[in-house]
C-alpha cells in the first residue's frame, strides 16, 4: 500500500498538518489573551484526518465541517489572513466577520462552512453530493463529524439517504472519544461508529486517525469509490483532541486523565509523520523545523493582517440576509 504514496504527497500531508497545528496553537493563545472573541474549538491532535482526506480533493469537491472547523478549512486551502480576520470579526474575514470560528467557510474552495449545530453537516453534504451528480460532475462531498454527532438524527437520515441514492459522499467520523465532556462510553453503546455503516448499506472502515498515511490511503479508497459512482463510505478515524473542548484550558474539568492525554500525545500525528519522513530521508529534522518556521512566519503575518484590518461597518448588519 504505502508504496503508492509519493514523497511529494507525504510532504504535502506534512505541510498541511503543520499549517493547522501552528494556526491553532496561535489562535488558542490569542483567544486566551482575549484578542479573539467568542468560542474556539481547536483541532490540535486531529490534523492527520483533515490532511489525509483533503489531499484527495479539489476545489470543486465539497466538504462540510463542524464547530471544530479551522483544520478542515486550512487543509482545504484556506488562507491564514482571511481566517484570522474572520476569527477577529473583521470585515476582511472569509465571512466579513459575520460568521466567526463556528461558521467560517470558503465556497470558492468547496468548503461549505463550519457548523455550530452538531450533526448539521451530514445532510448538507448529502445535498452537495446530490447536486454534484445532478449537475453531472464527478465531484464528491466529504462530511466531517464527531463521535458525538453520530448520535444525532440528522446523521442517521443523511447516511440513509446517501446509501439509498448511492451518492458520492464520504462520512468521515473523527472519533476523538468525547462529545464535549462526555466520554464515548457514556454517549453510545458501541466502540466503533463504523458499525453503523451496515445499517445504511455502505462499507464502514476504521483507521488510525493519528497516522496521516493510513488516513490518506483509506480516504483515497473511499473517495475513489464515490467518484466511480459506487456510493458512500463511513470512514471512522480514531483520534484525540489535545486541548479542551473549547479553547486551550477550557473549563478545566477533569473528565479525562492526564495519563490518557499524555499517552495520546505520544502519538502526536505530526511527530509520527516527521519520524517517518526522517527515517525514509524525505525530510530531515532540520528541514522539518524549517517548515515550521516558515509557517510560523506566515501565521504572524496573517495575525498582523487581521489586527490591522477594519471592523465591519454598522450597515453590514442588515446586508446579506437575502440574496
Amino acid at each position: 500500500m504505502t508504496a503508492q504514496i509519493s514523497d511529494q504527497t507525504l510532504l504535502d500531508l506534512h505541510h498541511r498538518m503543520v499549517r493547522i497545528r501552528i494556526f491553532e496553537e496561535t489562535a488558542g493563545k490569542l483567544m486566551e489573551d482575549g484578542k479573539i472573541p467568542g468560542a474556539l474549538h481547536l483541532y490540535v491532535g486531529q490534523e492527520a484526518v483533515a490532511a489525509g482526506v483533503m489531499v484527495h480533493l479539489g476545489n470543486d469537491d465539497w466538504i462540510t465541517s463542524t464547530h471544530r472547523g479551522h483544520g478542515h478549512l486550512i487543509a482545504k486551502g484556506g488562507a491564514f489572513d482571511r481566517m484570522f480576520a474572520e476569527l477577529y470579526g473583521k470585515a476582511t474575514g472569509y465571512c466579513k466577520g459575520k460568521g466567526g470560528s463556528m461558521h467560517i467557510c470558503a465556497m470558492e474552495l468547496g468548503m461549505l462552512g463550519a457548523n455550530g449545530i452538531v450533526g448539521g453537516g451530514p445532510p448538507l453534504a448529502v445535498g452537495a453530493a446530490f447536486s454534484s451528480r445532478f449537475r453531472k460532475t464527478s465531484n464528491v462531498a466529504c462530511t466531517f463529524f464527531g463521535d458525538g454527532a453520530s448520535n444525532e438524527g440528522a446523521f442517521h437520515e443523511a447516511a440513509n439517504m446517501a446509501g439509498l441514492y448511492k451518492l458520492p459522499v464520504v462520512f468521515v467520523c473523527e472519533n476523538n472519544g468525547f462529545g464535549e465532556y462526555t466520554a464515548q462510553a457514556n454517549h453510545q453503546a458501541i466502540v466503533d461508529v463504523a458499525d453503523r455503516a451496515a445499517g445504511y448499506g455502505m462499507p464502514g472502515v476504521v483507521v488510525d486517525g493519528m497516522d496521516a498515511v493510513a488516513v490518506y490511503e483509506a480516504a483515497g479508497e473511499a473517495i475513489e469509490r464515490a467518484r466511480r459512482g459506487e456510493g458512500p463510505t463511513l470512514l471512522e478515524c480514531k483520534t484525540y483532541r489535545f486541548y479542551d473542548h473549547v479553547g486551550v484550558r477550557g473549563m478545566g474539568l477533569s473528565y479525562r486523565s492526564d495519563d490518557e492525554v499524555a499517552r495520546w500525545k505520544e502519538r502526536d500525528p505530526i511527530k509520527l509523520l516527521e519520524a517517518r519522513l526522517a527515517e525514509h530521508e524525505i525530510l530531515s529534522p532540520d528541514q522539518a523545523r524549517a517548515v515550521h518556521d516558515e509557517v510560523t512566519r506566515e501565521v504572524e503575518q496573517a495575525v498582523a493582517y487581521a489586527e490591522s484590518s477594519p471592523l465591519p461597518e454598522p450597515d453590514a448588519l442588515l446586508e446579506d440576509v437575502y440574496a
Binding site: K98, M107, L112, G120, P123, L124, A128, V321, A323
Partner: protein
C-alpha cells in the same frame, strides 16, 4: 393557446400547483422536486401527478421519511448550484426539520458573509377542517415569519398558487409556499402561460370604503363572505390578501386603513402569537391617528386542533366569527 385566451382556462387549486411546478421544471434546468411520495404517488394530495412521467426520474425524487435529511439535502444542493423544490407533506411536520430550516437554510447566506445563495422552494400543506386532528391540521407560518432569511407565501386561489410558486422558484432565497388542503378542489382561472405574482405585493381582492379586513389563505374567502354580510351594518369592507407574509406589504394595508379607519386581521393559525399580532401591531404603529377602533384579530382558539368534527367546526375561523368580531369591536 389562442383558444385558451379566448375562453380563459379554469383549473382546481391542486392542478394549479402542478402547473406552477411544471413551469418551473421547464424553465430551470437545475430545478428538481424532492420529498416523501412525490414521484410515484404524485404526493398524497396528487399535486405532482404526471410530473414523473413528463420530466422523468432525474427531476423528481421520492425520499425516505426523513424530514431533516430532506431539508438539509435541499439546502446543500441549493448552496452548490441546484434549485430544489422541497416538499414537506404536512406543515405539521416542520418541527422535524426546523433546525435545518432556521439554523441552516435561513442563516447560511448571512453567516457566510453573503457568499452563498439558497434558492430553495418549499411546498407544504397546512390547514384544519379535514378531521385530521392535532398533528395534521396546523398553520405554523408565524414560526417562519419570525426567522430572518426566509420568505413565506400563502396562495388563496388557483391563480395565486401558480403565480406564487413560479415567483418563489425564481427567487434566489428560501421561500415557503404554504398551501391549504381544504382549497384543493376550488377552481379558478389559471392562464396556460407562465406568470409571476411578485413576492411582497398584497392583493386588494375587494375594495371598500369604511373597513379593512386583512385575510390570509383560506380566510380570504371567509372574509369575502363576511364582507357581504357586513353590508347590513353599513359596512363596506375592503378585503386584502397579503399573499406574501414575509416580506409583508405593510404599505398596501396601511394605506387601506388610513382610508377606512377600522381594521381586522384574520388567519387560520392560532390567534395568540400568530402573524395577525404582527400585522395589528404594524397597523397601529403606522396608522394610529387614523384608527377609530382597535385593530381586531380573528384566529383559531388557544387549543390543539380537535379531531371531532363537532369540535373542529368551532375551531376554524369563518365568516360568522369575523362578522361577530367586527360587531363586538364596533359595538354594533
Amino acid at each position: 393557446m389562442a383558444e385558451a385566451q379566448a375562453a380563459p382556462r379554469k383549473l382546481p387549486y391542486v392542478a394549479a400547483i402542478t402547473d406552477g411546478v411544471r413551469q418551473v421544471l421547464k424553465e430551470q434546468e437545475n430545478a428538481f422536486v424532492i420529498g416523501e411520495d412525490v414521484a410515484g404517488a404524485g404526493s398524497v394530495y396528487g399535486y405532482y401527478k404526471g410530473l414523473l412521467e413528463e420530466f422523468g426520474p432525474e427531476r423528481i425524487y421520492d425520499t425516505p421519511i426523513s424530514e431533516e435529511g430532506i431539508m438539509g439535502l435541499g439546502a446543500g444542493a441549493a448552496a452548490t448550484g441546484c434549485r430544489p423544490i422541497v416538499d414537506l407533506m404536512f406543515m405539521d411536520f416542520i418541527g422535524e426539520c426546523m433546525d435545518e430550516i432556521a439554523n441552516q437554510l435561513a442563516k447560511m447566506r448571512y453567516m457566510f458573509g453573503g457568499h452563498a445563495r439558497l434558492p430553495v422552494t418549499v411546498l407544504t400543506m397546512a390547514g384544519a377542517g379535514a378531521s385530521l386532528a392535532a398533528q395534521h391540521s396546523q398553520s405554523l407560518e408565524a414560526w417562519l415569519c419570525h426567522v430572518p432569511g426566509l420568505k413565506v407565501v400563502m396562495p388563496s386561489t388557483p391563480y395565486d398558487a401558480k403565480g406564487l410558486i413560479i415567483a418563489a422558484a425564481r427567487d434566489d432565497n428560501p421561500v415557503f409556499v404554504v398551501l391549504n388542503k381544504t382549497m384543493l378542489a376550488m377552481t379558478g382561472e389559471v392562464p396556460e402561460e407562465a406568470y409571476e405574482i411578485p413576492l411582497g405585493e398584497a392583493n386588494v381582492v375587494r375594495t371598500g370604503r369604511n373597513y379593512t379586513i386583512v385575510a390570509t389563505s383560506r380566510m380570504v374567502h371567509e372574509a369575502l363572505k363576511a364582507a357581504e354580510q357586513l353590508k347590513a351594518f353599513d359596512i363596506d369592507a375592503e378585503v386584502i390578501d397579503p399573499r406574501t407574509l414575509q416580506p409583508f406589504d405593510t404599505g398596501t394595508v396601511v394605506a387601506s386603513v388610513k382610508k377606512t379607519h377600522r381594521a381586522l386581521v384574520v388567519h387560520e393559525a392560532v390567534r395568540t402569537g400568530g402573524l395577525g399580532a404582527e400585522i395589528a401591531a404594524c397597523i397601529q404603529e403606522e396608522a394610529f391617528d387614523y384608527l377609530d377602533a382597535p385593530v381586531a384579530r380573528v384566529g383559531a382558539p388557544f387549543s390543539p386542533v380537535p379531531f371531532s368534527p363537532a369540535l373542529e367546526a368551532h375551531y376554524v375561523p369563518n365568516a360568522e366569527r369575523i362578522v361577530a368580531e367586527v360587531r363586538k369591536q364596533l359595538g354594533l
